[in-house]
């Protein structure tokens, strides 16, 4: 017996909550923001390093932004320089 392709399944049936998330931007445009994103990463990472050098706690917002930008740059195939 041939099974129905999962590709034809209604996405709502598989993950109803996810189908309610709005579509707002697009990934092609994100690739055009490489330079900005890398510059932003360098700036925020410098702030993080400065906090570490002072033996201060890295603010949660700074760490969350570094984590996000690291992920984005990885997706853009631009591995940020790490220590």
């Amino acid at each position: 017996m041939k099974l129905p392709s999962i590709r034809k399944t209604d996405p709502f049936v598989q993950a109803p909550l996810v189908t309610l998330l709005p579509t707002l931007g697009n990934l092609e445009t994100l690739t055009g923001l490489k330079t900005f994103l890398f510059a932003r990463y360098e700036k925020v990472e410098a702030l993080r390093q400065a906090a570490l050098a002072r033996e201060d706690r890295v603010p949660e917002q700074t760490q969350a932004e570094v984590d996000m930008l690291t992920e984005v740059l990885d997706w853009l195939k631009m591995s940020p320089t790490k220590e």
Binding site: L17, L21, L27, A64, D67, E71
Partner: protein, 147 residues
């Protein structure tokens, strides 16, 4: 969903324009749809850290937390989204789902009534939103006997 005007002061304060945030959010949504929850979480978390008023990122986090079976965290993120736009049927439905998941049927039921009023007043909402609302109504009716 509340729309914000693009202001230079916001860009300077947050470091990102509204358009840039939307494209970053799309990467989070892409990872979420691909089942890469950890990566999606980093994107959505980063957005909520720099722009807490960006509701879709909170909603994305609700999906991630449900995917990781963190019901209480999902409820927290749903509350964060809902408090920023009390009239958003999507944010309210996410909160209702989280309330159901954490066993607060009474609060979920009260909010379902509010969403019903919003949806009744506007017939232009998309099919999935209506289907989801109807599913939650059915869920409430089937569990209401236990209240």
């Amino acid at each position: 969903m509340a729309q914000r005007e693009r202001k230079l002061s916001d860009v300077l304060k947050r470091g990102y324009s509204d358009e840039e945030l939307k494209h970053l959010y799309e990467l989070g949504r892409f990872y979420l749809e691909s089942g890469r929850l950890s990566r999606a979480a980093k994107i959505f978390n980063g957005i909520t850290a720099v722009a807490p008023e960006f509701i879709p990122a909170w909603l994305g986090m609700v999906c991630v937390e449900f995917g990781l079976a963190n019901k209480d965290q999902a409820l927290h993120c749903a509350r964060e989204a809902h408090k920023r736009d009390l009239n958003s049927p999507v944010a309210t439905l996410f909160l209702i789902t989280a309330l159901f998941a954490t066993g607060d049927l009474a609060s979920a039921g009260a909010l379902l009534g509010e969403v019903g009023d919003i949806l009744e007043g506007n017939r232009e909402y998309d099919t999935n939103l209506i289907r989801f609302y109807q599913a939650q109504m059915a869920r409430f009716r089937s569990s209401a006997g236990g209240l």
